[in-house]
Amino acid sequence: MALQTKSADSALQQHSRDELLALHRTMLLNRRFEEKVGEMYTRSKIGGFLHLNIGEEGAFVGAIRALQPGDYVFSTYREHGHAITQGVEPRRVMAELFGRVDGTSKGRGGSMHLFDAQKRFMGGYAIVAGSIALAVGVSLACVYRGTDEIVMSLFGDGATNNGTFHESMNLAKVWNLPVVFVCVNNQYGMGTAVDRASAVSEMYRKAAGYDIPAERVDGMDVIATLDAARKAADFVRQEKTPYFLEALTYRYRGHSMADPQNYRTKEEIEEWRHRDAIESFRKRLRDAALASEQDFAEHEAEVERVVQEAVDFADASREPDPATELLDNAYVGDIPVSWR
């Protein structure tokens, strides 16, 4: 799991330059997007809970980029980057965070409830572990219809202590469903360190009780994560049976914008920042002479445009109108919302 820095970077070599650059661009986009979102929150453009995933880019970009068109992704409340990596337009994500009608959920969902069925981003959910069972259900539909699509369910380390996770793992295995369970282990559930909440320190070991093949990968190494996720996705697609992937990573920011940060040390945070997925990936690209500062600078500029465009788009979009739209979509059809 140690980071590969030897000059001949075999793992890197197996990928096309385009793919490598795309990985870099996507991680960078998510990093800058989240930074901007944090800024917008402090400027009160965004309300409610906000859970940034800065630091986790290697893990979720590596995992989600392993999917093919048509595959489904289920996520949590820490999902902005998951949605964007799955192809949801950044501007529609930002508009949702702003609570505007052009948001992915028309401003009704907010940060924790992005959704884009066209892109097969099946939603961010705010109940820990809740979406894992939903993901199992969509994979059941894939099998029911005999399609080749698979489902990726992303969740945190804390979610693996919840019964919903366990019932879902068992169902997926007993019914042989094509689900890639991806545990984004950022080592804390809010302020609770993994070992204070989980009987085992390695989340992938929880798959043993279900005979589900599992492995842990360095989530700060986007290539290692992508390769492991591809292996998992291929296996699941061919064998029509689940796989469990744990990506060890770290969140640099607080759990949400309100976080005492009294449960971990500055040193620990620094230590992980030194293993930053983007920085370390850049070094590898440079060492392998596959990309230059020039390329990175271009990416920065490009990403900044996209993020700024997202903010402008969100700002320009209107808010839903309580007077006329409050009851929209309460039900399909004309079911009365209330009889009083």
Binding site: Y72, G103, T104, S105, K106, G107, R108, G109, H113, F115, D116, A117, M122, G123, Y125, I127, G130, I132, A133, L134, A135, V136, G137, V138, S139, L140, A141, C142, Y144, G163, T164, E167, S168, N170, L171, V174, W175, D328, N329, A330, Y331, V332, G333, I335, P336, V337, S338, W339, R340
Partner: protein, 327 residues
């Protein structure tokens, strides 16, 4: 019209909808090989196979969640929770997922699932197996909640629920499965959200749902012997509540008894009573009478259990009371 059991009516509805629509499938504990612990799904496993009649592990939270996911993906799952008592393990998925997804995703999602579960007591199954918790679900926006009392409605409402694009909580009652009633031979649907006057009368309205409708009809017979004509309003649908039908009945009779098998405090009868007072305040000649189950965990002993569930005498007396006729 043939008289069949409530159980068979449900079974027919499931079979017909599964034959009609390939996307309809069943999930639940022991609904397949065993045929359903209340034998509602008997024969379907043989006819449709494992793919469409899926036995589940004892994972209410997990398989209800999976059903919701399958519905999100466009299938039409009919999930059986063996009894409403066990649905307490799935309330998160029902309330936080199924009831929320359409609205919170801005109308971009649809969850056409039916979740069937029988409630009720009367079989000495004790405190953990005898509850009537439908009021919990009736309180939740985003859900439709129905509770048929007779075979014809059981079949028509289940077919309508399966075809509806909203999550529907389908409340059955363990005491109804073997009851019989006429069911039309031809295809029909019973509209969700509409109450039904099961007996017409001019003196007092007895408003209730599920198994208690049968008790209300019995009471109406008794009252008739004394020249009192009771009208029995079967709510059928708890969410949405058909206020128009309730209102019309009470405007006519000027007297009401509201009745439920479960606990009345914060129960179905609380909403129905409040609604009646609201829409018929100037029509009521006397305070309505609320009758519901005794508010204790259901005792096992037969006599004790009987004493906890509304009985004929209570309903008859209640009707007379609101009519100002001392029993």
């Amino acid at each position: 019209m043939a008289a069949i059991t409530y159980r068979d009516a449900l079974n027919q509805a499931l079979r017909e909808e599964m034959q009609r629509d390939e996307s309809v499938f069943l999930m639940g504990e022991d609904i397949g090989v065993w045929g359903g612990s209340f034998v509602v799904t008997q024969g379907l496993y043989k006819e449709f196979g494992e793919r469409r009649v899926r036995d589940t592990p004892i994972s209410e939270d997990g398989f209800v969640g999976a059903g919701i996911g399958a519905a999100l993906a466009g299938l039409r799952p009919v999930v059986e929770i063996m009894t409403i008592n066990f649905s307490l393990l799935a309330t998160d998925q029902i309330v936080n997922s199924a009831a929320k997804m359409r609205y919170m995703f801005g109308g971009n999602a649809k969850v056409p699932i039916v979740i069937r579960m029988p409630g009720g007591g009367g079989h000495q199954l004790g405190a953990q197996h005898s509850q009537s918790l439908e009021v919990w679900y009736a309180n939740i926006p985003g859900l439709i909640v129905v509770a048929p009392a007779v075979p014809a409605d059981a079949k028509g409402l289940l077919k309508a629920a399966i075809r509806d694009d909203n999550p529907v909580i389908f409340i059955e009652n363990e005491g109804l499965y073997t009851t019989k009633g006429d069911v039309p031979e031809e295809e029909y649907l019973t509209p969700l959200g509409k109450a039904d006057v099961k007996r017409v009368g001019r003196d007092v309205s007895i408003v209730t749902h599920s198994r208690m409708v049968l008790l209300a009809l019995q009471a109406a017979d008794e009252l008739a012997k004394e020249g009192i004509e009771a009208e029995v309003v079967d709510l059928r649908s708890l969410r949405p509540l058909d206020v128009a039908t309730i209102s019309a009945s009470v405007h006519k009779t000027n007297h009401a008894v509201v009745l439920e098998e479960g606990w009345g405090s914060y129960g179905i009868t609380a909403e129905v009573a409040a609604t009646i007072y609201e829409v018929a305040f100037d029509y009521l000649d006397a305070p309505l009478v609320r009758i519901s189950g005794v508010e204790v965990p259901m005792p096992y002993n037969l006599k004790m259990e009987k004493a906890c569930i509304p009985n004929l005498e209570q309903v008859v007396t209640g009707a007379k009371k609101t009519l100002g006729k001392a029993a």
